[in-house]
């Protein structure tokens, strides 16, 4: 049914407003911090940039999974979903280690408005990635038991739309937090 | 008939302009409402279904010309209102330029501090101003959002922590104008009142000079006991009395409490009896106020009242 894809399309549109507001909050306080940690003095754009590439690549592998579904190549579809999950987990690992590093320097959500907006924005994004990973894992599990033989599946296509959305949000978030601070 | 307040008694040039605009829009609104009411009443009488009539009326689906007409007319009305809105806004809120504020107004939970930077007067809840002068007020808040509002003299303006606002205010005639905090600010929002005392320039100057006098501390009698209690019973932790070690600005400056008409930001009129009642238990008159019941004995209360009354 086209219903499911329409639902996820509007859902993603609705979610993007949620992220727009979090980003606006970040932008609103950008440059208001006079002492204490800021994006410019506490973040490492290169390291996070490299981990971001994993997420970007995972969008590509998810697309390939969709292609395999259409061509009814069940085995390759499972492989590409697995690759997507691995890349997503690597990204989350990068995020988690960045957070741990910051918290180790006593840069927390309650430290100042930079900490508040940074942790909220990246935290909600990370949460969305984790939800996506959970759904992909379920997808993979079902595929292992023989589901999704193709050439069409709303489940695969909807989760794919969601995953591309999460990836797209990250491009904006990375640009606003990291690129804006350093370039 | 007693005089109605607020918009029915505009007492400053700004308020006259705003009240005028309000009357104007209300008149237009009543006109439109009347048209609708008349039309609906006519319909109710004229087009009521007869009890035996079961035929269907003429099926009319609409009329493009009518739609255009009743789209354009409101557009014209809105255009006029918008023009009036802009001109009124300019009249009420002219640019500040490089004027220094005449009074700095600071909202506290639940009282107002008024500081006159040009003379150094620091007082609370009662704003004195000379008639006919247009004063520039700087509006700030120390805790939550409040709103400075004297209905007969002018607009509302929020007092927001971390954000400075300015308004122009002036009184066209002498008198006492009552105002209040207009933005909900917590438990005692209702009792965060303002009194504007508009007086002649001479009276204002005289008041200002009195406020600047540093009163001498009573040396003898019950008032001297009160002076001592004031410094030892934690009063000084929150209040200021100029010329003594008490210099805190958490509560209102009490140096010239004598000169003020009310206590507790308008809860009670200022008299020795009421001051006594207030000191016995402020929570009885202003429940939730930040001034606790100090559990003073009757003689302690009397001594402090005598002291505050003696400060001249």
């Amino acid at each position: 049914m086209a219903n499911n894809k329409m639902l996820i399309g509007f859902f993603v549109a609705s979610e993007s407003i949620f992220f727009v507001m979090l980003i606006l909050a970040y932008v609103n306080f950008h440059g208001t911090v006079t002492d204490g940690p800021t994006a410019a003095n506490s973040l490492d754009p290169l390291r996070t940039g490299i981990f971001s590439l994993f997420l970007l690549a995972s969008s590509f592998s998810m697309w390939l999974a969709g292609r395999s579904l259409v061509s009814k190549n069940h085995f390759m579809m499972k492989i590409w979903i697995l690759v997507t999950i691995i890349l997503g987990v690597l990204f989350i690992y990068g995020q988690a280690s960045e957070w741990m590093g910051l918290i180790g320097q006593n840069i927390t959500i309650s430290r100042n408005v930079f900490g508040t907006t940074f942790f909220t924005l990246t935290g909600f994004h990370g949460f969305h990635v984790c939800v996506g990973l959970l759904m992909l894992t379920i997808l993979l599990g079902l595929a292992m038991f023989g589901d999704f033989k193709g050439p069409k599946s709303d489940g695969v296509e909807c989760i794919s739309i969601y995953w591309h959305f999460v990836d797209g949000v990250w491009i904006v978030v990375y640009s606003v937090i990291y690129l804006w601070a350093f370039f | 008939m007693e005089k109605l307040g607020g918009i029915f008694n505009p007492s400053s040039p700004e308020m006259v302009v705003m009240a005028g605009l309000t009357y104007y829009i209300i008149a237009i609104s009543i006109g439109i409402l009347a048209i609708i009411v008349v039309a609906v009443t006519y319909i109710v009488i004229r087009y009521r279904k007869g009890s035996k009539d079961s035929s269907e009326p003429y099926q009319n689906f609409g009329d493009l010309r009518l739609e255009i007409v009743w789209t354009i007319i409101p557009i014209a009305i809105v255009a006029v209102l918008f023009q009036l809105t802009c001109s009124t806004m300019r009249a009420v809120d002219p640019p500040i330029g490089d004027h220094e504020p005449d009074v700095v107004v600071t909202g506290h939970q639940w009282w107002w501090e008024f500081y006159y930077p040009k003379s150094g007067v620091l007082t609370a809840n009662e704003l004195h101003m000379p008639v006919g002068e247009r004063l520039l007020l700087r509006i700030e808040s120390i805790d939550v959002i409040h709103d400075f509002w004297v209905p007969e003299l002018g607009r509302k303006i929020d007092a927001i922590p971390g954000h400075t606002n300015y308004i122009w205010i002036g009184a066209g005639e002498p008198g006492i104008f009552l105002g209040a905090c207009a933005e909900f600010c917590g438990t005692q929002h209702a009792n965060m009142r303002i009194r504007v005392i508009a007086e002649t320039q001479e009276e204002f100057n005289e008041w200002q000079e009195q406020e600047l006098v540093i009163p001498s501390t009573p040396r003898s009698g019950i008032a001297a006991k009160g002076a001592e209690l004031f410094q030892t019973k934690a009063c000084m932790n929150c209040h200021t009395i100029v010329g003594t070690p008490a210099a805190a600005r958490i509560g209102p400056n009490l140096t010239h409490l004598n000169n003020r008409q009310t206590i507790g930001a308008g809860v009670l009129t200022n008299s020795p009896e009421n001051l006594t009642k207030w000191l016995v238990n402020p929570q009885k008159y202003k429940q939730g106020a930040l001034m606790p019941n100090m559990k003073l004995t009757d003689s302690e209360v009397n001594a402090i009242v005598a002291y505050l009354e003696a400060l001249k």
Binding site: E15, T32 | E2, G6, L33, I36, G62, I145, D147, K156
Partner: protein, 556 residues
């Protein structure tokens, strides 16, 4: 030639429910849109009575100057809970619920596109309501910072009680519910219309639900993010809205009203939809200017997201911003005025039958125009500086939300009750309810316009004995009690009619939309057959095959 086509069997499989959709268990397990719709309506009646009692407590406290009925804390809790309850747990779920019941029937569908998501939406409202009201059991009671919860008053250290936390969590649950029902409505309306039901033939109620659903999915995330930030501030010491730590008090207001003003249209557009169904049927004429009524709704929906700061004229945003928001807000009067005039034109030349639904719809026009006109006045920044945060505003939005939304809701209940239950409501009790509501409502709120411009601020638990303030407030309080009596009659009418009401035929009002084609109440599967849809009024076309709406008439 066959005049009937069989319903396209969208969903032959039984609905995905635990134990079917009938019997006692169905009150928990059902995913049938009609049962969920009724559950919405019943729970809103309960919340309506709770919110009404809170209003009575407020009015008793204000009956006299310096009155001592409740403490300031309790007063502040009452107006916070009254506003929150009426907006989020009465008007919103009622309109969503009546939409959930009627949309599939009106478009000739078997159910919503996502029946289980529909059930989730309902149960989230109940969950949110429990979270909100649970705060009464916490040590210091429910939130006392108002339904707008301005920072930093709603933040530490000014609100150390748990009330605002439960409040935000409860409303977050309602927000998720609203987004999911918005999504569900959009997909249902866009994809599940019966053959022949084009967008230009959609019943206006469905149009209004569609526009409302778009507003829901795009503005609820605004407040959801603000609630998330507020909760982070309160629970993890984040600093979004605490100026003392670098946050911004004004940011909360932008976020809150960015949602809060479109919310007003969420509360009124489906009410417009109800009126747009009731007035034509009882006037025996098609709606005048269908395209303009539908199109003006879209215009209102688009404008609604660009006017939020007219709630913030006292903040001091500067004259340029104030001028823009004044103009944008006034512009909304134009599509709204178009609607009102089209309703009046629909009645003009009709043969009007004044049953209770039509009485409420007629009164709605006048009360709503009243609220709309004061709305235009306060859209002008200088007038707003005079009236904002006074009883003038209280009067204004009660004319819109009570005189508007609630009058329409009453009209809708009397209109569709026969379809929902298979029984008619008592007309006698209905007329008592109507007249007491009109009298009580205007008595309570009209006088508040004057109190406001005379200088009485809102949200104050007490006031000085200034000239006429006491008597005007007393009049308002008496009006509130008249309203309370009218609500008792209304509730009694529902209960009495459920058991003893006259048996309702399938189409008691001789109406034209598809829900009246099926039985009263409809079977679980809604329709055996649906008539062909060749115009906006399928049942009219069926009854007047020689006088079809579209082929012969110029349809605007």
């Amino acid at each position: 030639m066959s005049t009937r086509i069989p319903l396209v069997p969208e969903n032959i499989k039984p609905l995905p429910s635990l134990k079917g959709n009938e019997g006692m268990l169905s009150w928990v397990s059902s995913v049938d849109h009609k049962q969920i719709g009724l559950m919405y309506l019943m729970s809103t009646l309960v919340f309506f009575i709770i919110g009404g009692l809170e209003a009575l407590v407020i009015r008793i406290q204000l009956a006299q100057p310096e009155f001592d009925f409740i403490s300031p804390e309790v007063y502040n809790q009452m107006f916070t809970m009254h506003g929150t309850t009426m907006i989020f747990f009465v008007v919103m779920p009622f309109l969503i619920g009546v939409g959930v019941y009627l949309v599939p029937l009106m478009i000739g569908a078997r159910d919503m596109a996502f029946p289980r998501l529909n059930a989730l939406s309902f149960w989230l409202v109940i969950f949110g309501g429990i979270l909100l009201y649970y705060s009464f059991l916490t040590q210091s009671g429910p939130s006392e910072v108002g339904w707008f919860a301005y920072a930093p008053l709603s933040e530490k250290p000014f609100s150390l009680n748990k009330g605002p936390t439960y409040w935000a969590l409860g409303l977050l649950a309602v927000g998720i519910s609203s987004v999911s029902s918005g999504l569900n409505n959009i997909v249902t309306i866009l994809t599940m219309r019966v053959k022949g039901m084009t967008m230009r033939r959609l019943p206006l109620f469905v149009w209004m639900i569609l526009v409302t659903s778009f507003i829901l999915i795009f503005v609820i995330p605004i407040i959801a993010s603000a609630f998330a930030m507020m909760l982070l501030d309160r629970l993890l010491d984040a600093t979004f809205f605490t100026p003392a730590h670098g946050g911004s008090a004004i940011l909360w207001q932008h976020f809150f009203w960015g949602f809060g003003h479109p919310e007003v249209y969420i509360l009124i557009l489906p009410a417009f939809g109800i009126i747009s169904e009731v007035i034509p049927v009882f006037s025996r004429k098609p709606i005048f200017g269908y395209s303009f009524v539908a199109g003006s709704t879209v215009a209102i929906g688009l404008l609604s997201v660009g006017v939020w700061a007219h709630h913030m004229f006292a903040v001091g945003l500067g004259n340029v911003a104030n001028a823009y928001f004044s103009l944008a807000s006034m512009l909304i009067a134009i599509p709204t005025g178009v609607k009102v005039l089209n309703w009046v034109a629909t009645m003009w030349g009709g043969k009007i039958y004044f049953a209770t639904p039509m009485l409420f719809a007629t009164a709605f026009i006048i009360e709503f125009v009243m609220g709309g006109l004061t709305g235009v006045a306060i859209a002008s920044a200088p007038i707003n500086w005079v009236t904002t945060d006074t009883y003038f505003i209280v009067a204004h939005f009660h004319y819109v939300l009570f005189g508007g939304s609630l009058f329409a809701i009453f009209a809708g209940v009397y209109y569709w009750f026969p379809k929902f239950t298979g029984r008619m409501m008592s007309e006698t009790l209905g007329k008592w309810h109507f007249w007491l509501t009109v009298v009580g409502f205007n008595m309570t709120f009209f006088i508040q316009h004057f109190l406001g411009v005379m200088g009485m601020p809102r949200r104050t638990y007490t006031y000085h004995d200034l000239p006429y303030w006491g008597s005007m407030n007393l009049l308002s309080t008496i009006g509130a009690f008249v309203l309370a009596i009218s609500v008792i009659i209304f509730a009694w009418n529902i209960i009495w009619s459920l058991k003893h009401g006259k048996k309702a035929p399938d189409n008691p009002w001789n109406a034209w939309t598809l829900e009246w084609y099926t039985t009263s109440p409809p079977a679980v599967h809604n329709f055996n057959l649906v008539p062909p849809v060749r115009g906006r009024r399928p049942l009219w076309d069926l009854a007047h095959p020689d006088q079809l709406d579209e082929p012969n008439s110029k349809v605007v």
